[in-house]
C-alpha cells in the first residue's frame, strides 16, 4: 500500500527543478513516437536543434512563435493566480485581433506612434471585455467560468467567420474570408531586416516584467494572490473579492487580446480564422510549465515555441509528422502536473493492510 501525504514545505529545488526536469523528460519521451515513425532518433533531435539554433532566421522564427505564447501564457497566469480559470484566451485573442482590424484598416488615419498605441489599446480592451463577461457571470451568478470561457471561444470564432464573410470582408480579397490589410502606419515594425520577428516581442517581454511587478510589488497583486489562495480569508480581511476577480479578468483578457493584435499587426497584416493555431490553449501549458510565474512564462514560451519550430523543421527534413510537436507539448504538461504532485506530496510505502 502507498500512503500519500503533503510535504510540509516543498523545497526550492523541487519547485525549480520540476519544470526543467519535466521539459527534458518530455523531450526524451519524444524519442518513442519518433522511433515508431521509423526515423533515426539522433538525426531527429539534430534536425530539431538545427531548426531552432541552425540560423539567425531559424532562431528569429522561434522568437516570432514565442511572442503570442508569452501573451497568452501571461493571460492565463494572472487569471489562474486568482483561481479564475480562464480557458478562453483563444477567443480573447481573436477579439483583440478583430478590434485591431476594425481600427487599423483605415478607420483612423494617424502616424504610427499614434495609430499603433490606439490599435494596441483597442485590442486589449476587446480582449478585456471578452473575459470581463464570464467573470461578471461568475461573481454575480456563480456561473462556472471554465464552461463559459471555453464555450465563448467557439462563439467568438463563429462570430469572426460571420464578420469575415460580412462587414469585415476585404472587397479586394478575391472572395476569401479575410479582412482588409492593416494600413502601413499600423504595422508593428520588424526588429531585424528580412526576419519576421517584430516589435510584438518587445511588448510581450515588457508585459511580462510589468505583470511580475504588478503581482509581487503592488497592492493589486497582493489582493489578487490573496483571493486566489484563500478567498474566504481575503473577504474576512476586507478585500473586495468580486472586484478583485473582475480586475484579474480584465487584465487577463487584455493580455490575450494583445496576442491577437501582435499576430495581426506584426506578422500577418490581415485577419483570417486561422490566425492562431491554438495559442490560447497552448498558453495554459505555457503558464503551468512556468509555475504561474510571469518571468517563468517567458522561458516556458520560448521552450514551447522551440518545440513547435524544431518539430516543424524536423518533419520537413525527415518526413515525420509535425504533430510530434503537439505530442511533446502535451507530454511536457503531463510531466509538469505529475512533477508538481511529486513536489507537493510525499509518497511512502507502508506495510500491507495499513490504511
Amino acid at each position: 500500500m502507498l500512503r500519500i501525504e503533503p510535504r510540509e514545505s516543498p523545497s526550492r529545488w523541487w519547485t525549480l527543478g520540476v519544470p526543467i526536469a519535466s521539459a527534458l523528460l518530455a523531450l526524451l519521451l519524444a524519442a518513442i513516437p519518433l522511433a515508431f515513425a521509423g526515423a533515426n532518433i539522433f538525426e531527429g533531435y539534430r534536425q530539431m536543434a538545427k531548426g531552432i539554433f541552425g540560423s539567425t532566421f531559424a532562431f528569429t522564427e522561434m522568437l516570432t512563435r514565442a511572442t503570442p505564447l508569452i501573451f497568452t501564457g501571461l493571460a492565463v497566469t494572472l487569471a489562474f493566480r486568482a483561481k479564475l480559470w480562464n480557458i478562453g484566451a483563444e477567443g480573447q485573442l481573436y477579439l483583440g485581433a478583430m478590434a485591431a482590424v476594425i481600427v487599423g484598416t483605415g478607420m483612423i488615419d494617424a502616424p504610427p506612434f499614434i495609430l499603433i498605441p490606439i490599435i494596441l489599446l483597442a485590442g486589449a480592451s476587446a480582449g478585456a471585455v471578452g473575459m470581463a463577461g464570464p467573470a461578471y457571470l461568475k461573481t454575480r451568478f456563480g456561473a462556472d467560468e471554465v464552461v463559459t470561457t471555453l464555450l465563448l471561444n467557439f462563439i467568438i470564432l463563429i462570430f469572426l467567420q460571420m464578420m469575415l464573410e460580412g462587414p469585415l470582408k476585404d472587397p479586394m480579397g478575391m472572395g476569401w474570408p479575410q479582412s482588409k490589410p492593416i494600413v502601413d502606419d499600423g504595422i508593428l515594425p520588424q526588429l531585424l531586416p528580412r526576419m519576421r520577428v517584430h516589435a510584438g516581442l518587445i511588448i510581450a517581454l515588457l508585459a511580462a516584467v510589468i505583470a511580475h511587478i504588478m503581482l509581487s510589488k503592488t497592492v493589486w497583486g497582493l489582493k489578487l494572490r490573496a483571493v486566489g489562495e484563500n478567498a474566504a480569508a481575503a473577504l474576512h480581511a476586507g478585500i473586495k473579492v468580486k472586484r478583485t476577480i473582475i480586475g484579474a479578468a480584465i487584465v487577463s483578457g487584455a493580455l490575450a487580446g494583445l496576442a491577437g493584435v501582435g499576430e495581426v499587426t506584426g506578422l500577418r497584416g490581415y485577419l483570417t480564422t486561422d490566425l492562431s493555431p491554438g495559442y490560447g490553449y497552448t498558453g495554459i501549458v505555457v503558464a503551468m510549465l512556468a509555475g504561474l510565474s510571469p518571468i517563468g512564462v517567458v522561458i516556458s514560451a520560448l521552450f514551447i515555441a522551440s518545440i513547435f519550430v524544431g518539430a516543424d523543421s524536423m518533419s520537413r527534413a525527415m518526413g515525420v509528422s509535425s504533430y510530434l510537436a503537439d505530442l511533446v507539448v502535451a507530454m511536457s504538461l503531463i510531466c509538469v502536473l505529475v512533477g508538481g504532485f511529486v513536489a507537493r506530496y510525499r509518497i511512502t510505502r507502508t506495510g500491507k493492510g495499513d490504511v
Partner: protein, 518 residues
C-alpha cells in the same frame, strides 16, 4: 446469523459486559485528548456519553471504531458466546467484524443510490451484488420488523427525510450484525417527533440485546433514555452515574466541573458603551445560523462572554459583527453611531478587531508570507503602500517588530504562514488585531485547539486589551474560559441570547442545555 434472531447467544446473557475500554489514551501534539479512559458497556444497555465540545467524546469513539490508533490502552469486545477478545486497534474492518456499528452525526450515504444499495455498499462484493439483493432484503425486512425501524428500501437516499436517512444508517449497522451501536449526537438533526421515534426504536433494539452508546449534549434526552451516564471533561472521565440516581443539576455540574480556576483579572468599572445590539435578528437557513431578537451591550473595559454549545447561533452573531452578513432586522451601533453598512471593511473602519473561529479558513492566507498576512487588513494605509506599490521595507520591518512583540515563532517573516504551528498562527492574528487598537474585539473560540501556553497568552492579551479600554465579545464553548475571563456572561441557545445573572456554573450549564434557569 442471517435469519432468525440476530443476537440469540447474547439474549441469554443479560447484564454481562460486551465492551470494555481499558486505559485508553490519545495525544494530539500537546493536547491530551483522552487520558486513561476506562469504560465498560453492558449488554442491552443504553450508555450516554456526555461532555462539552472538545471533551474527547469523538476521539474516544474514533479509537473504538479504528479511525485512530490509541497511544496506549486496549479494547476488549465480547464474541457471540460472551467471551472477551482484544480488538485489533486502528482497523475499522476489525471493529466492524467485532460487531461495532457507528452512526455519525453527518451521514455517510450515497444520495443517488437506493436505501437497499446503501445498506449493502461496503459489505457485499460488487460482483455478486445483484444476486445477494434478494437475500439481503429478506434479512433487512426481518430486522425492520423486530426493531420497528422502517425505511423505504427502494427509494433513493436523496428523496428521504433526515430521520429516514438516519434509520437507513442504523439499519446498515444492524445488517452488519452490529452488537454495539454508537450514535453520535443522533438527535442533533432530528425534529422532536423524529427523535421520539428514534428512542422508541432504540428501546426495541436493546430489548433484542443490542447495546448502545449514545453521545449527546441534551440533558433531558439523556435522562429519559439512558440507563447509565458517563461524563468526559478535558479528555478525562470525570463522572459516572446510574441515570435513575441522576438529575439535570447533578449532570450539569459534572459536565462543567465544580472548580473555579483562579482569575488573574482585576476588577474594573466598565466605561462607555462600545457595541450596542438592539433586537438584532438574523434568519439563517436553519437555527444553527440564526439569531433572534438579540439585545447586547458591550462597554469599554469589559469582556462579555457568550457561553453555549456550538451550533446555537454563535456563528450568526460572529458573522454579523465580522461584517460577513447583514442582519434581517434590528440595529448595531458602534461607539453610539448606528452602522448602515455591514461589510468587513466597514467593520474594520468602525474599529472592530476580529479573531475568527476557524483561523485557517478565515484568518490567514496559508500560502502567503507572514509579513503579507500581517498587513492584509490595512492595505490602504500609507505606511504600507504609496500609489498602489507595496512599501516592502516598511512591511518587513513591521513584520519583524510584530513577530517579536507577540512572540510569533516560525521559519521567518518571508515564509508561508501555513508552516507555522496553530499557536503561532493565532499569535499572528492577535498581533494583527491588537496592533490597530480596536474599540471592540470579537474573539470567537480564540483558544480552540491551542495548547495551554498559547491559550494562556491569548487570555493575557485579551485582558490587556480590556485594561487598555477595549470592549471584548468572547464567544467560547469552553465554559471555564468564559467564566475566567468574562465580566458578564450570556448564554446562547437556539439563537436566543439570555443573560446569566450570576456566574454559577451549574445554572449556566443548565441554560446551555436549553433548560430554564432555576
Amino acid at each position: 446469523m442471517v435469519q432468525g434472531r440476530i443476537y440469540p447467544a447474547l439474549f441469554t446473557m443479560e447484564k454481562t459486559s460486551v465492551l470494555s475500554l481499558n486505559n485508553l489514551s490519545k495525544r494530539f501534539g500537546s493536547v491530551l485528548a483522552n487520558d486513561a479512559i476506562n469504560l465498560t458497556l453492558k449488554q442491552g444497555e443504553v450508555l450516554a456519553l456526555l461532555g462539552e465540545n472538545g471533551a474527547g467524546k469523538t476521539t474516544l469513539m474514533n479509537m473504538l471504531f479504528g479511525h485512530y490508533v490509541p497511544d496506549s490502552g486496549s479494547i476488549d469486545v465480547a464474541d457471540e458466546t460472551g467471551k472477551m477478545h482484544p480488538l485489533t486497534l486502528g482497523h475499522p474492518q476489525a471493529a466492524l467484524d467485532a460487531g461495532i456499528g457507528m452512526v455519525h452525526q453527518h451521514f455517510t450515504l450515497a444520495e443517488n443510490l437506493s436505501s437497499l444499495d446503501n445498506i449493502l455498499l461496503g459489505s457485499e462484493s460488487l460482483f455478486s451484488w445483484r444476486h445477494k439483493r434478494k437475500k439481503a432484503r429478506k434479512k433487512i425486512t426481518a430486522i425492520m420488523q423486530r426493531t420497528g425501524l422502517s425505511a423505504p428500501l427502494d427509494e433513493k437516499i436523496g428523496q428521504l427525510s433526515v430521520g429516514e436517512r438516519q434509520r437507513v444508517e442504523i439499519l446498515k449497522a444492524l445488517y452488519h450484525d452490529a452488537k454495539i451501536l454508537v450514535l453520535d449526537e443522533p438527535t442533533a438533526v432530528l425534529t422532536p417527533n423524529e427523535a421520539d421515534t428514534l428512542f422508541e426504536n432504540i428501546a426495541a433494539m436493546t430489548r433484542e440485546g443490542l447495546s448502545v452508546i449514545f453521545i449527546s449534549h441534551k440533558l433531558h434526552e439523556v435522562l429519559a433514555f439512558s440507563q447509565r451516564i458517563v461524563v468526559l471533561r478535558h479528555g478525562k472521565l470525570v463522572g459516572e452515574i446510574i441515570t435513575a440516581d441522576a438529575n439535570e443539576r447533578k449532570i450539569a455540574q459534572m459536565m462543567v466541573g465544580a472548580d473555579t480556576p483562579a482569575t488573574p483579572r482585576q476588577a474594573m468599572p466598565p466605561g462607555a458603551p462600545v457595541l450596542d445590539l438592539k433586537s438584532l435578528t438574523i434568519k439563517g437557513e436553519n437555527t444553527r445560523n440564526s439569531l433572534y431578537d438579540a439585545d447586547l451591550c458591550i462597554h469599554s473595559h469589559e469582556i462579555v462572554g457568550i457561553a453555549g454549545v456550538s451550533g446555537n447561533g454563535q456563528s450568526a452573531l460572529a458573522r454579523v459583527i465580522s461584517g460577513l452578513i447583514t442582519p434581517n432586522s434590528g440595529s448595531i451601533s458602534m461607539n453610539g453611531e448606528k452602522l448602515t453598512r455591514f461589510t468587513p471593511p466597514a467593520m474594520l473602519k468602525a474599529g472592530v478587531g476580529r479573531i475568527p473561529e476557524d483561523r485557517h479558513h478565515d484568518g490567514i492566507i496559508g500560502a502567503m508570507s507572514v509579513s503579507e498576512n500581517l498587513i492584509i487588513e490595512r492595505l490602504s494605509d500609507s505606511d504600507v503602500q504609496t500609489y498602489g506599490f507595496l512599501k516592502q521595507h516598511n512591511i518587513a520591518t513591521h513584520a519583524k517588530e510584530l513577530c517579536a512583540a507577540y512572540d510569533v515563532r516560525g521559519p521567518g517573516i518571508e515564509s508561508a504562514v501555513r508552516l507555522l504551528s496553530g499557536g503561532n498562527i493565532q499569535k499572528l492574528i492577535l498581533a494583527r488585531v491588537f496592533e490597530s487598537s480596536p474599540h471592540l474585539i470579537l474573539a470567537n473560540q480564540p483558544t480552540r485547539g491551542l495548547d495551554l501556553g498559547a491559550a494562556g497568552e491569548v487570555a493575557r492579551r485579551l485582558l490587556e486589551a480590556r485594561r487598555d479600554g477595549a470592549g471584548i465579545l468572547l464567544i467560547s464553548e469552553d465554559l471555564d474560559e468564559v467564566l475566567a475571563l468574562a465580566d458578564r456572561v450570556f448564554v446562547i441557545h437556539n439563537g436566543h441570547l439570555t443573560i446569566a445573572h450570576n456566574k454559577d456554573r451549574t445554572t449556566i450549564g443548565l441554560m446551555m442545555a436549553g433548560e430554564k434557569a432555576c
